[in-house]
């Protein structure tokens, strides 16, 4: 309990201070609430618009989850492919790198044009932003495999497939989770982005119409929701990592 507080107080204090400063500035500097709403106003609006926000958060969460699932699945498939067929790696990686330099803001409307208003363009855009970090992590993970371990398996008579399953794949697990943690942050942001360019519903649409209606307080309330979703998803990956890698010694654990 005490140690927990010890870990948490500096950030809590800082966040409280930032919110307080913002509140004071928003109230007493004479800035218009349509320019900079006070945090108390944002919270108030967050509560009174909770049903609408929840209603719009749902499609965003669905898009995020589906897009992310696609991204992780295809990263797995491609990483395995690339691991077994080396020239493919030299072929695909530059293309993936280039794909990361495309400004989403320009690509999103085109993707919506090509694939319509449904789930598909959202899934594709989320996959575009999250696929590459996942892929890189997995490939790095395979490459991190101990050479002696592979040699050992081969000496035991294991073929390429067995070496992959017994050594390379498990070696990649910690890297996989690193990639997961990075990607999940981008996933929500990517979903909102896709919605911005065309959707019937979602946090992105909610933000867009709040913005267009001069309601920065609602924009910030929706931003708060999206940050919250991201943090929850992030927390879930951390928990998932802990339960699925019991062999990793972590700091602060008794030996």
């Amino acid at each position: 309990m005490q140690r927990w507080w010890h870990a948490v107080w500096p950030a809590s204090t800082l966040i409280a201070a930032i919110v307080l400063a913002w509140e004071v500035y928003a109230r007493f500097s004479g800035v218009k609430p349509t320019t900079l709403p006070s945090p108390s106003r944002v919270v108030e609006q967050l509560i009174s618009n909770a049903p609408a926000l929840a209603d719009n958060a749902l499609p965003t969460i669905i898009a995020t989850a589906s897009g992310f699932a696609l991204s992780v699945t295809s990263a797995f498939v491609f990483s395995i492919l690339v691991d077994f067929v080396r020239p493919l790696r030299r072929a695909l990686f530059p293309v993936f790198i280039i794909s990361q330099t495309l400004p989403l803001v320009a690509i999103a409307p085109l993707v919506v044009l090509w694939f319509g208003f449904g789930l598909l363009p959202k899934i594709l855009l989320i996959a575009l932003v999250t696929f590459f970090p996942m892929m890189v992590s997995l490939v790095q993970g395979y490459d991190s495999t101990d050479k002696d371990m592979e040699w050992l398996l081969r000496s035991m008579g294991a073929g390429r497939r067995k070496v992959f399953l017994l050594a390379r794949l498990p070696s990649a697990i910690p890297y996989f989770f690193t990639g997961l943690r990075i990607s999940i942050t981008y996933a929500v942001v990517g979903a909102i982005f896709a919605e911005y360019s065309g959707a019937a519903k979602g946090l992105g649409i909610y933000m867009l119409s709040a913005k267009n209606n001069f309601r920065p307080d609602l924009v910030l309330a929706a931003v708060f929701c999206s940050a919250f979703i991201t943090l929850v998803l992030f927390g879930m990956t951390v928990v998932l990592e802990r339960v699925s890698t019991p062999w990793v010694r972590r700091e602060g654990e008794a030996q």
Binding site: L153, A158, P170
Partner: protein, 251 residues
Amino acid sequence: MSAETKRLALRGVGKQFGDLNVLGDVSIDVAPGEFVSILGPSGAGKSTIFQILTGGTKADTGVIAFDGSELADASDKFALMPQKDALMPWRRIVDNATLGLEVQGLSRKTAREKVAPLFEEFGLAGFEQHYPHQLSGGMRQRVALLRTVIQQRQMLLLDEPFGALDALTRTAMQQWLERMWGQHNWTALLITHDVREAVFLSDRIYVLSARPARVTHEIRVPLARPRRVADLASPEATRIEAELLEALLGT
């Protein structure tokens, strides 16, 4: 000893990696039940010999015979123990020990039943369900050896099994291995940098030159078994040691 009675016989084995001439002309014999060591400077190509034996790479020249007949490409004659322990951190100790059996296609259950009785002997009883990181260096090395011998191959290839341990733990492990040797009927080829280790454990020692590696000396160690650390102080042992050191360090 004629070539027919030899378990393993390398004759004029040579190997080049690109421009790098690693093995010059290496000839090594091992008789059944014999413990043979290879001593040589770092980078000489010692591990490369094991790579060739286990099918990790192919020799450019020379012939290799096992029990009198030519060695097949993917052979199941050898059980390897690599330089680092190469334990899989994500597998519990028992599953690390059974790895070789699993690769051979045994079910997990059968494999576990097969290793279970050996944990006591290897000083690992009670640690079956631990993860490698929970064990000390010496214990990890014992797991690695257990994983090697459980495969019941005809010959053990030990590549500097104790190279990563501190000097004290290493001495303790050498004593332990010597005891185990007495109890089992193993045939082993050991790679080491450590002159005393070679003397303490081996029946015969080959000294390799630096790259491209050739056998420069072949030395018999006629100490009686079982051996104790104190035996290393015998005139016989110290003479061999001095001889080996001179061979390795030059003038």
